[in-house]
């Protein structure tokens, strides 16, 4: 999207990188047994996003990069669910903090993925449509995301107690 139609999103790009680091740190502990593989993957993702942002222009929000990262988060979500299903412990999933936090990120990623991937290809005339989609759908999913994260954090406190 052209920079004259949308305000500079340098902070937005930085937010995406920090979000990537935080989500990767969480999933690294939960899913990756080999730390070297985890580190290699995330360094690649961070470098890939930064490179693409620079290529697009740092003052433009990197929707495509975020869309690609959302597909990675979808992969994490599915891997998380597989880990839960394959677990040999007899425990109801709704009692697991990981289930809720994984669901939160999975919802966020699935709701944002297509939106972020196709936004750069929509014309400027579709800006109103994008804003409507963003406000109504994505923000609503974000509300659910934070509710799930809240439940996950509450369950974590319960488990630790």
């Amino acid at each position: 999207m052209k920079s004259e139609s949308i305000e500079p999103y340098v902070i937005g790009n930085v937010f995406v990188v920090i979000e990537l680091i935080c989500i990767s740190f969480y999933y690294g502990k939960q899913l990756f047994s080999r730390k070297a593989a985890f580190r290699a993957l995330h360094i690649l993702l961070i470098l890939g996003f930064i490179t693409q942002t620079i290529f697009n222009g740092i003052y433009e929000f990197n929707f495509l990069g975020l869309g690609i990262l959302c597909t990675v988060y979808i992969g994490y979500g599915i891997a998380g669910y597989l880990r839960i299903i394959q677990s040999k412990e007899i425990i109801y999933v709704t009692r697991l903090p990981f289930f809720w936090i994984n669901s939160a990120f999975f919802l966020y990623a699935t709701s944002g993925c297509l939106l972020f991937l196709f936004t750069p290809f929509l014309k400027a005339e579709s800006l109103q449509l994008i804003l409507a989609l963003w406000t109504n759908f994505f923000v609503a999913m974000n509300i659910l995301r934070y509710i799930f994260i809240g439940i996950g954090l509450y369950k974590t406190k319960k488990v630790e107690a």
């Binding site: 839960i84 289930f99 999975f106 699935t110």
Partner: protein, 243 residues
Amino acid sequence: MALSVIFFVVLHQRKVIRHQLELNELESQKQMELLQASIQSEEEERQRIAAELHDDVGATLSSARLFLHQAEKYSTSPELIKQSGQLVDDSIRKVRDISHKLQPGTLQALGLHTALQALSEVYKRSGSLKFDVLPASNLPRLDAHTELHVYRIVQELTNNIVRHSKATFIVLQVATMNNELSVTLQHDGNGMDDKSYEEFRQQKSGIGLKNISNRLRFINGKIAFTKQGNTAFITEVQVPFIH
């Protein structure tokens, strides 16, 4: 779509848990059945040995005693024969006691309290300690299996007290309370508490205590070990009624 994936995971996991719980239940049931079969075969073996002791060895010893009594009249050393006769008498008594311990004939015929009184007589005769059974009024007859299990539990507990605690007396009381049978053993020897009972039960050599624990499981019973004052230990067995 994401929500449907989440619902699928939740439902799938609940199905797996239900299945796992059913499997655990079946395994637990199977273990109980195996345990029951093991105890049943042990009881049958005891019955067989008791019968053989009584019918075979006991009968032979009784015959030997008769011959010795006859020989005493005609022998040149009657004192020797008399001593031999006393030894045979002792052996007959011991065989009878062993047979009684293996298979309490009074239990089925006359009930738990009478069988426990007979058990106390066996220990009293041995002279190792004083053993009193307090009278019990209006004690209902229980299910045959329950009575047998309770009898064996008391027998094992008494055996342990005699062998390990150096007690000089045991007092046994059988009572009913809140639809439960309560059997209390009080003694003045070295006893144990609930914690040490669990510790001994886990040990390899704790077969007797494991037996007690298994029998209690069959009859939904409970056991508690407490110390009363400085010198007395009380063991209480509680079993719900099944008439």
